[in-house]
Symmetry: C3
Subunit: 341 residues, 3 copies
């Protein structure tokens, strides 16, 4: 049982508690799934109407809603309840989840020349290559792979089945989800007489601190220079980052995004799911690209950009999509009419 006193939460994370600090909760719950043993949070004032029925032992709210919240029971007031919730989840996990113990599992295969901090954990059947370095409190998941001369920073965690390629480096406090492949060869070939001759990819991948990389996401090594992911970048699942891409700090991408080779993305950019960027372009800081957008040229100006073709019921789509093929001709016909009139 993860029984936790409200007093301990406030002591650790701050906020103003109205209610009995000895009250205990056993889980964090969404507002409408909470019961008497839950602590819940209200992230948007538009959900305020749900407060009255909420059965949670305590609700985290913004100051503007504290009157309303206190009318129903224990209330924790904080300027940013969603942020508070994020921090509560992290504190909760540290308190209640078992942490991997330091040391190397007997079944792991660690090269004698690898340098492991004694506080690091290497899981069952993991491989750590020659000359690799693993920092303090780092966690190498079961069956994960750390290549030759790769480096893993302090407190970084690789999930099971992660592959960190030879000579690639990842900074501190990163999280890499299962199946991610960091440092596969970039896709480079020289055409010759109708065939493709491989260009060996001699660069590596360099990842900063506080980066998260999603499940089965791929970040290719650079051709000559490196592929670079700066601090604080968050990548969701099944993303493709091609060779020599450069991703600025604190940029976030949703699942299934693809970035083609040598493209440079600024800082604090967000890219919606399944969007794609062609190669060799530049995206300015603070650009926000909606889901399913195909970005075919550089974007120099911060702002929001969009791209998907609108979906419709099939009959309407069939007619409109067929008309798209005549669009230029329609424009010419309209011009002709305008000239006449």
């Amino acid at each position: 049982m993860n029984t936790t006193r409200l007093a301990d939460i406030v002591a650790a994370l701050g906020g103003e508690l109205h209610g009995n600090p000895e009250t205990t909760v056993e889980r964090i719950a969404p507002l409408d799934g909470a019961d008497e043993r839950s602590i819940a949070f209200l992230s948007h004032s538009r959900h305020a109407a749900k407060l009255a029925q909420c059965r949670a032992a305590c609700v985290i709210v913004a100051p503007a809603l504290q009157e309303q919240a206190r009318a129903r029971g224990a209330t924790l007031v904080h300027p940013d309840p969603y942020l508070y919730y994020a921090r509560l989840t992290r504190w909760w996990v540290q308190r209640h989840e078992p942490m991997p113990s330091p040391g190397v599992h007997a079944s792991a295969v660690v090269d004698a020349s690898a340098q492991l901090d004694p506080t690091a954990h290497v899981g069952a059947l993991a491989v750590v290559g020659a000359g690799a370095r693993i920092g303090p409190h780092a966690v190498i998941g079961a069956q994960a792979h750390v290549g030759r001369e790769a480096r893993v920073g302090e407190r970084t965690r690789l999930a099971p089945h992660v592959m960190l390629g030879d000579r690639c480096t990842i900074g501190a406090r990163c999280i890499v989800q299962a199946g991610a492949v960091i440092g596969a060869d970039g896709f480079g070939f020289a055409p010759f007489e109708g065939r493709w001759e491989k260009i060996e990819q001699l660069g590596a991948v360099v990842i900063g601190d506080d980066v998260e990389i999603g499940a089965n996401t791929c970040i290719d090594r650079g051709a000559l220079g490196d592929t670079v992911v700066e601090d604080g970048v968050k990548l969701d699942n099944l993303i493709q980052i091609a060779h020599n891409v450069h991703i600025g700090a604190h940029t976030a991408m949703a699942a299934k995004v693809g970035i083609a080779g040598s493209t440079r993305i600024g800082r604090h950019v967000t890219i919606g799911g399944a969007s794609g960027l062609v190669g060799h372009i530049e995206i300015a800081d603070h650009v926000h690209i909606d889901a399913a957008t195909v970005v075919t040229r550089s974007i120099a100006k911060p702002g929001r950009y969009s791209g998907p073709f609108p979906f419709d019921d099939n009959a309407s789509w069939e007619k409109n999509a067929a008309t798209v093929r005549q669009l230029y001709a329609l424009r010419e016909r309209l011009r002709a009419l305008e000239k006449k009139s």
Copy 2:
């Protein structure tokens, strides 16, 4: 040699055989690749013209085509030849393919607290975490990973390199293809001063019975509640299912689909390859979404929905795509003309 008598097939799977039951076949083949040692099937009457030349030892046909089929040789009549073919492949595999033997491979790493049914198979170099439970006749493939307190139901098969995360559960008779990741963290962060603060994902993934999950497909664990995949769902390869998605029973998705967080999909839905659904929407039962469609709002009505921009030869596409950027302006010009006329 997988020699099989027609009599044995009919005894196992039914249907009406016209021809010598002692005839033997060695393989199942498509109509136009069949030879004298094959059993073939005719799924659509539009392929009936191929019957005459078909050299198969026996052909499975619907009643309407039995006259035509019997004219060429042995015929197995069944109301649904495609269904018969599906069942024949399953019976064939059970009869001819080696099944993994019960027991744990010596190289697997199984926590002492895991509960394995004695009839389950755990392959070479697999990992089974603390408190995990593996049901009767389940197969954990070589190098697969079953997390702490995860559960695998009866006769479910995880292929090599599958990762089933901590506390995730999968029901009976499921098939998970290689490289699938079930239970990576959902993509959740709270923005704070231009950075992203991680929200620990405290939920799990709950998968029903008779589900198939494709290679390198990802199903993320829920943030607070669970991500749910109901009975009979079929997911192809490289699909992304984000946290707290709910997929209704018997829904099927082709490869490369992406479903963003908290979206609810009904029962008996089909989604074509590479389509994407934004988060927090609802899709009714019996909705059919064509390939490459971007669904940006809820769909309340059963029916067929479509979305891709039509492709064309590059020259035509260039002209039409450029005109798309002027589409709203064209509409305004048309309005102006209409007013005048």
Copy 3:
């Protein structure tokens, strides 16, 4: 230190050296990142302006630029500098990178009935199934999986975590990047009373020589016949190749492409990133499909084909995308006006 004399490079790879053959270089660099210890190359004459400032010890150029290049220092002249660069990278890796030594790592699990050439390398914690055959100088990466009766040709390299399924075959000199899954089941089900009945996938995957397959790419086994990838094909990361697809020789596909079942693709085709091809169509030789194109019918004529909806700033996109939904109606209104005028 990877110190290399220019004389050795020319002796191995040809070209005409103008400069001191005893000059040594330590790395290959892009033109604008090169220092005095680098050899660089000039692939396009449009970059010729960068020559003057380039500090490289030696630059590889085409004959047309040799005057200009020799004015700045040592020059290696070759008709195709990009091809020369490709070959230089391969020679460089062979010379400077450690090659895996022949033999089977003690932690690998190799079935007694597998046939391994004594020059092959099987890495730590790899699995090689019953009856598999591994050719001369082949490399099975750490934690990779070679299924039952699978075959790996001479000098082919599987990266860590690759999965090559039962009975699948891959030719000589191929490279398979980490996490690729070759031979998962194709996605085949027969509908029956609102449920899906599995069709066992009895075919395999047959891959030719000199093929490269990207990280986390999936190639499914055929339903009855095989899925076929001919010689010299290059597939980038996160690609989906469905069952019974046939890919002609020397075709290349960028990341995130998806090819649905039974589609036949010709030789020397290129497909841009994130494009998708529906099933059961045919693409002629020498077709070039741009990125993000959804190909919904066969293409019989060589040429370039395109498809993405143009992206725009969000406000413009909103107006144009909304107008797309009225496109057919607009056409009808235009027709009406034309009749009147």
